[in-house]
């Protein structure tokens, strides 16, 4: 790592996450000053333009890639048109123990005097809550599901390769061509499309201006720079910014800088969930890398340094702050940009190239939370590649996570994508499958599979409040067979899926109408050709997901009930309900039986795993294939971010021996500590689910460091991954830290400020995790010593 990168990295790590009011004020200023008769898309595009023309240009000393979303490193803008923070929210953000954001006094002032008075009553969040019905609210408040879009815009998409062969000027040409083609005779939406296209054009031009403003600043800095080397650098950077984003990039540096402008554009336009993501970086950049090396304009070292500088930019951008339930379901600074390397090319051939290995070096050396990174492993990829990734995994910061390209392609093709689009896809966020550059795949919220079972056991009521929120499918004692019980559960799942999907459809339409994203629409095919906004179904493919949480816990619950009540008849349903109600106080021996003497998911035990399959089918049948309002389809995936902790906190004790409030299992991982057969048992259980019918599953595998100490251990890790993928497993990630280290870190957080652990689908600083999550990870890790 060069001295420059070391400094940039340290500055990024040390910067305080803070709230900036710059965007909120510019936006407010724009709307206060502009009384336009323009359509909503055009007005929003003009607002975007206003922000990019007026926001401060931030160029940090020594930087190679420029552009910040806020006025400084880690200064996070707000998006009052989506979610308006109250003064109370800001105070909480400033003072909360975990994941705080510093809120300067000046921000409190401008919020009080300007932002809140203007936006109150006009926000998307208020529109949403005004339209959602009581059954939705009751389920939401009970913790049956969460809602991603109540504080953040839909996003969940990944850049394809468009920008690497089209400058914004070329894109403007495309927009104009699309306008020309509008058919005012036969297309009743032609006018709306014209408005949308006009909006797109404004945003494309705005990004060019933004690039030019950077070039101006760089030239101004160069004029006063006394260090001749830096002066040359600044001038070279200015040249880059004069070229991109207006024109298509010609060099490696230009390609990176172009992406970064686009990234800043997307996250300035809105606060889309999962920021934005360069996706298949080794594929996109390789032609520039190769050409640069060939004509001598680039060296491997400089490419590496540029990539490292690029990495720092992601780390400068913590996620926009979340509050309330949404903060609990995703309590992290990470904003889920997930760099993909490896996999296959559009023609299906092995995509690993020299740059793949350079990027892997960068991942290892930078050791940053953001961007997160993953390797796509196809059966066509060489062993050396997977082995290289395993070596980084061994260092224990949870990256890269490992994905099965061949499974991802099957998933996408099953959903109806063209094979090339499928091969150009990958995973983003935590583990979500998507066709990069062509698909809008919206995660709509987590779905508490365990809580719904609790409601089933209580005849439709939430036992925590006594409120009837579900269907009255019968009392627990009335089910004479396990199948009866499952059928009742399936009805409840269907019921809540209906409520959730109805809510989603309302929210989706509110975004389509009030919060279009013309800038993002420039990037995703075929929004321009369709003349339709990304948020209104303009993308080539549109998919909505509902993410099931608690599969492992629920499997163990159902197995326990089947085993003890229906098969062995060791306990009656009444006894179990009594024990749950008492949180096992006075029922300790029963709890020992549940924890230690009952088959568990994660051990390749068909008795238990059969329930996992049934839960999967019930959830799948309730959601998969239903239409979205954008002309797309609903699908399921199984991942939690940190929601398993929140969902656990609203769920009473459960018949697998879990006590009230404890976290649920995450993704498709077994309950923490329940897997006693080692990693092959875990992956075999997990592979019994049909991953191909999902859009992503998350499997967290603990590994104590001693399993990876030797070459042979490392090789076996690769074999384990390959075996799981032969069984169509979607994703696996490894936490390689000893429990002793974690416990030490909990005692002395100050000594472990840089300790990064795998949480669920992403890595995070151990110190930033809630104590519950810390304990859960310790439990999970501790148990790894088999």
């Amino acid at each position: 790592m060069t001295e420059r990168i070391t400094r940039l990295r340290t500055e990024s790590l040390n910067a305080i996450n803070s709230i900036s009011d710059e965007r909120a004020l510019l936006l407010t200023e724009f709307y206060q000053a502009t009384e336009t008769a323009c359509s909503i898309p055009v007005t929003r595009a003009m607002a975007f333009q206003y922000i990019l023309e007026h926001k401060s240009i931030c160029i940090n000393p020594g930087e190679l890639i420029v552009g910040e979303r806020g006025p400084a490193i880690k200064a996070v803008p707000t998006y009052p048109e989506v979610c308006l923070h109250s003064l109370e929210d800001l105070r909480i953000l400033n003072s909360r123990e975990k994941v705080p954001y510093h809120v300067p006094e000046s921000v409190m002032h401008s919020y009080e005097l300007t932002v809140i008075p203007y936006w109150k009553g006009k926000t998307q969040r208020e529109r949403i809550f005004a339209k959602l019905d009581d059954s939705w609210k009751a389920a939401y408040n009970a913790g049956i599901f969460t809602e991603f879009q109540e504080q953040r815009a839909p996003g969940h998409t990944v850049n394809g390769n468009k920008i690497y062969h089209k400058g914004m000027l070329d894109i403007i040409e495309d927009i104009r061509a699309a306008k020309e083609k509008l058919d005012y005779f036969n297309d009743p939406h032609a006018l709306a499309k014209a408005d949308e296209l006009e909006a797109m054009e404004i945003t494309a031009a705005a990004l060019i201006t933004f690039g030019q403003r950077h070039a101006d600043s760089l030239e101004a800095l160069a004029a006063t720079e006394t260090d001749v080397i830096r002066k040359d650098e600044l001038l070279a950077m200015a040249k880059v910014c004069r070229r991109v984003p207006a024109h298509k990039p010609e060099t490696f540096h230009e390609a990176l800088q172009y992406y970064w402008f686009v990234h800043v554009g997307v996250v300035t336009e809105l606060n889309p969930w999962d920021s934005f993501n360069p996706g298949r970086l080794d594929q996109h950049l390789f032609p520039f890398y190769q050409a640069g090396l060939a004509d001598g304009s680039l060296t491997e070292d400089f490419a590496r340094e540029l990539l490292q500088a690029f990495w720092v930019k992601f780390n400068n951008h913590p996620a926009p702050p979340k509050v309330g339930v949404t903060a609990r379901e995703s309590g992290t600074y990470t904003d889920f940009a997930l760099i993909n390397v490896g996999g296959v090319k559009a023609d299906g051939s092995d995509a690993v190239n020299d740059l793949t290995y350079v990027i892997l070096d960068v991942i290892e050396e930078m050791r940053l939370l953001q961007p997160s990174s993953m390797v796509q492993v196809s059966k066509k990829n060489p062993e050396r590649f997977v082995h290289r990734a395993a070596r980084i995994i061994k260092t224990g910061f949870g990256q890269p996570s490992v994905f099965n390209t061949d499974a991802i392609i099957q998933q996408l093709i099953r959903q109806g994508k063209a094979v090339e689009d499928a091969r150009n896809g990958g995973a983003s966020g935590c583990v979500e499958t998507g066709a990069f550059g062509t698909e809008s795949y919206i995660l709509t919220g987590y779905f508490n599979l365990v809580k719904i079972f609790e409601v089933t056991l209580h005849n439709g009521a939430d036992p925590r409040t006594g409120k009837l929120i579900g269907l009255q499918t019968g009392t627990a004692e009335s089910f004479t067979s396990f199948d009866d019980l499952l059928q009742a559960y399936a009805k409840q799942v269907q019921h809540f899926a209906d409520i959730k999907i109805k809510g989603n459809n309302i929210i989706e339409q509110l975004y389509a109408t009030y919060i279009p994203a013309p800038f993002l629409s420039l990037l995703i095919e075929d929004c321009i050709g369709n003349g339709t906004d990304y948020n209104a179904g303009g993308a080539r493919y549109n998919t909505n997901y509902i993410q099931g949480v608690g599969l492992g816990t629920l499997t163990d619950i159902l197995t326990s009930v089947k085993y003890h009540v229906y098969d062995k008849k060791s306990y009656t349903m009444q006894q179990i309900l009594a024990a749950i109600g008492a949180d096992f106080a006075g029922y300790e021996n029963m709890r020992v039986d549940f924890v230690y003497k009952t088959p568990k998911y994660g051990n390749d035990d068909d008795y238990a795993d059969a329930q996992a399959i049934q839960i999967f089918e019930i959830f799948y049948n309730a959601v998969n294939g239903r239409p979205t309002t954008k002309g797309g389809t609903y699908r399921i995936n199984l991942l939690p971010t940190t929601c398993h902790v929140y969902f656990g906190s609203v769920t009473l004790a459960t018949p697998d021996g879990r006590k009230a409030g404890e976290p649920l299992s995450e993704g498709i991982s077994p309950v923490q500590g329940a897997d006693t057969q080692g990693p092959t048992g875990v992956v075999k259980s997990a592979a019994k689910l049909d991953h191909i019918r999902t859009g992503g599953t998350l499997l967290n595998q603990k590994f104590t460091p001693h399993l990876l100490e030797t070459e042979a251990g490392l090789k076996n890790l690769v074999h384990l991954i390959r075996s799981y993928f032969r069984m169509d497993g979607h994703h696996i990630q490894f936490n390689v830290v000893s429990a002793a280290t974690l416990r030490e870190a909990q005692q002395h957080p100050e000594k472990y400020r840089d300790l990064i652990v795998r949480v669920a689908g992403y890595s995070d600083y151990f110190n930033d995790l809630s104590p519950e999550l810390q304990n859960e990870i310790i439990r999970r890790t501790e148990h790894g010593d088999f």
């Binding site: 300790e588 924890v595 080692g678 092959t680 030797t710 042979a712 076996n716 074999h719 075996s723 088999f786």
Partner: protein
Amino acid sequence: MLALRYSHSNIETTAFQLAPIRIYSLRIKYFHSFFHISFSFCLFLSLRRYLFSQLVCTETMQKDLKDITGVIFDIKRYTLHDGPGIRTTVFMKGCPMRCTWCQNPESCRMLSETVTNELPLDGAVYETEEVIGRRLAAKDLLQEILRDSLFMEQSNGGVTFSGGEPLVQSVFLTAILRLCKMQLIHTAIDTTGYGPAGNLEAVLPYTDLFLYDLKLIDTNEHRQYTGVGNESVIENLKLIARAGKFTYIRVPIVPGITDTEKNLHGIAELLAQLHVAARVDLLPFHKAAEKKYKRLHQEFPAAHIEPPTHERMEEIKSLFESYHLPAIIGGVQ
């Protein structure tokens, strides 16, 4: 010799299981007397092995193999220290030795035994009885092993039979090894080599890798620390050497007992002579088993011994290397 072999090996075999084996033992006897005058011993061995496999591999025999039962006390998956690739290690119960430093005290006796386990939950500890050792048929054991066959295939791994001393149950061991070979699974046995040559000969054709313990070269010391002399251990090692089987030699390094210069040089000299070791694994003594002894209400006889230092292990490694023997500390590369 053969009679002796069966009376020794069939501690666990019932009369019902003996039937098919008698048939083939008679046939072998027949070939034995017919050939051994005119052919060299080596040829005899290989022929006998060939005939053995031919004779026994009939459909009816397979069925009987599957029903042979044995006693195991654990099956561990994803083991790293028992041979190449991803392996499943089957721990068989019963051992003729009583090594002072034994790490598997629960393996010693053939019979099942009941121990008290502690189950911690929320700070409280609940006690439960656990029976160590279960008898199962070879076909059921095979099913357990096959659970990870995909991983074995992917990694060139396989199954390792350990113990205790797996050769104690040689009929059962032979049966399960043969069933594994029919499934193309790589097989290893982790053995002390102690016992009649016949026990070893029976498994030779079906074993791809031997993990072979050499503890003490002096038979009196061997007797002192393990309870038995080492004559058969050394003779059987020669047998393996002649058969040219892939072998890792495992030397437990127990300070004050096996780590004397005399012993280590003695072992190295023998190995250098025999050309048998693909690799020498030097296994440092450790005390992880203390808890196991407690559960069994036994004293850990090596409680007073301290593990060897890293420097000492390196010295010993060099000692073996000076005999041109590739040595590995800990036994995994």
